[in-house]
């Protein structure tokens, strides 16, 4: 018998016990409307995003949130480029979320639909948060179900011919604990287990294998992935209020999955307000992972093992982000229906480095050539620049 139902019944029992400690009432956040613009440039890709979000309380216990997001992609990452495909695509995402509060319990139900011409995803999420122990502790339990339809564009960017390849289903179980430790310090821990099954690979990426019969010395072939994947991630974080009205936070996340990947993420943030008008923030984030057990940059021959991948996301890699953000608050006295407004600009620079993913586009697969023997090309790496600018109105 699977241990999953047993674990779930333990979680349910824990939730029941925790709900016994109910007293007082929680509140919903302020009504707001946001208009958002973002840009990502790096690794051969240029992505712009536009989004609108509206959140409105209808009673003190009930709120609705709607979000529409569209991003436009041009270019393609290096492993897709090396397979001579160019992407120009658009993703439209709609989501609706309902929050309901009863006493100290907050319920959230949301539905998200995301559509690209070769990928359709439908996600449903439910979570329950409980304040307890004099409101010093919040426990959250959540569940997410996602059904995806995966396709491939066999035509061109302007005249697509979509072949549907299969479905992927994902289920996620989340648990979290947030704890006030002192009047200046708050900490939280969260756990998320995600299981996927179905068509899990990126159809635009290929393996490469040694092939002495061609001038380059290698050929490209089809990836083969397992059709199941389970991951576990644990994160701990703490935020401290400094004596001169500023905040510093630190977080660490450990990740492991059944494909043999282990990941570590560390982030440090600092927030400094200037009077009541400006908020300045800085952050540094570092991430590292090892490669999946079935990943290789260069296989000895096609079909040399059961599962074969050369997706750069599954390679050994590190990345480091340095970011800065500034928020300007206006209309402190309010205007018409609005209580206040803010404008925020955020700029990040990310350096990606790969430990066993080689740059075959730049050095070997171009007419200029690089005269590198297969497997000796320089390792791939790139910089990305990300900026966001958004207007938030609170009412």
């Amino acid at each position: 018998m699977s241990t999953a139902p047993r674990q779930f019944s333990r979680l349910a029992a824990l939730a029941t016990v925790l709900l016994v400690c109910v007293a007082g009432a929680a509140v919903l956040p302020d009504d707001r409307a946001d208009v958002f613009y973002s840009s990502y440039q790096g690794g051969g890709m240029d992505i712009t995003g536009e989004s609108v979000l509206v959140r409105k309380k209808f009673t003190e216990n009930f709120a609705l949130e709607g979000n529409y997001y569209i991003d436009k992609v041009s270019g393609a990452s290096v492993d897709v480029l090396s397979n001579a495909s160019v992407i120009k695509d658009e993703r439209k995402q709609k989501s609706i979320s309902v929050d309901y509060i009863h006493d100290k319990t907050q319920y959230n139900l949301s539905y998200t639909n995301s559509v690209e011409r070769d990928y359709i995803s439908n996600t449903t999420h439910f979570s329950l948060s409980q304040d307890m122990f004099g409101d010093l502790t919040t426990i959250t339990l959540g569940f997410t179900n996602s059904d995806d339809k995966v396709g491939e564009n066999d035509g061109t960017a302007f005249k697509p011919i979509i072949t549907w390849l299969g479905h992927a289903q994902s289920r996620s179980y989340q648990g979290g604990l947030s704890q006030v430790l002192t009047r200046n310090l708050i900490a939280s821990a969260s756990l998320e287990v995600i299981t996927d099954q179905g068509f899990l690979m990126n159809p635009y990426r290929s393996i490469r294998y040694l092939d002495p019969t061609v001038p380059l010395g290698y050929s490209l072939g089809t990836q083969v992935y397992p059709n199941t994947h389970t991951s576990t991630a644990v994160e701990g974080r703490a935020k401290y209020y400094l004596p001169y009205r500023a905040a510093a936070s630190v977080s660490y996340r450990y990740y492991s999955d059944t494909w043999g990947i282990r990941g570590n993420t560390v982030e440090v943030d600092y927030t400094q307000p200037l009077s009541n008008i400006w908020i300045l923030e800085g952050r540094v984030r570092h991430y590292s992972q090892n490669h999946a057990t079935f990943y290789s940059d260069l296989f000895p021959f096609a079909g040399s093992q059961n599962f074969e991948a050369r997706d750069q996301d599954l390679a050994a890699s590190t990345n480091t982000t340095v970011g800065a953000k500034v928020t300007y608050a206006f209309l402190p006295e309010g205007w018409k229906i609005f209580k206040r407004g803010t404008v925020t600009a955020d700029l990040s620079r990310i350096q990606f480095k790969y430990g066993d993913f080689r740059d075959i586009k730049e050095f070997n697969d171009t007419p200029a050539g690089g005269n590198f023997a297969p497997g000796t090309e320089p390792l791939y790496g790139f910089y990305a620049t990300v900026y966001q600018i958004y207007l938030s109105m609170f009412f």
Partner: protein, 70 residues
Amino acid sequence: MTLGAIGSAVLLGACSIQPWVKPYERDRLADPIMSWDRDAISGAYVDHIYESREASRGATGTAGGGCGCN
């Protein structure tokens, strides 16, 4: 089973714990600069950037906040 019973007893016992940070001492925690994620739209976007380029996923924060300011 025994462990479960002990765990339940401990948790129920904790119901009587008095808050060591009183409601009137939570002004700093209620300051917007102490929020984990002031702007959901930006937080979701940043998560999406990393999830698209890293194998790691999940556990990027506890939903529902919990500054204990209510």
